[in-house]
Symmetry: C2
Subunit: 103 residues, 2 copies
Amino acid sequence: MEKEFKPYYAVIFTSTLTENSEGYHEMAEKMEALAKKQEGFLGIDSSRNEIGITVSYWENLEAIKNWKQHSEHLIAQEKGKNQWYSWYNTRICKVEREYEFTP
Amino acid sequence: MEKEFKPYYAVIFTSTLTENSEGYHEMAEKMEALAKKQEGFLGIDSSRNEIGITVSYWENLEAIKNWKQHSEHLIAQEKGKNQWYSWYNTRICKVEREYEFTP
């Protein structure tokens, strides 16, 4: 019998930075810590080379909306647009299936 | 009027590597080049620090299934499990909304 899978949501945030990264890493850490405290938060993965990819996982769309509108997060988003990001893309996705490999 | 949005699919592949990465980067490049030639392929983003995140985008589930079963990709997956990856996770997601920022 297949394991039952309960769909959840992923936010795929891809970005490139400007040359003015002052304060960026502190803010990124702060926002990650804050995201983890939100209701409906499930997890987060993040890495950056030429492009930065952050994927956060959420129980439902309501949780994503609440996080998007969180007051401290709004300030970070504003600074992101004005200073840190030369480009970004946000995708809201429904996770329909998942496979894990652990040897 | 809101722009019409046509849903598509994302495969979120997160992984950590073993210490035996011989041949890994060549294979990763080869697989990315091959993925780009598949029908229904839309794009790919990739970055790696402590964790590697590769997100590929596809027109539909059929395209994802075909790519998963592609003969050369199957060989790469097998080598990945036997040698390169200490852990990985694959999530199949439906992209329901998308926002882009370009200053």
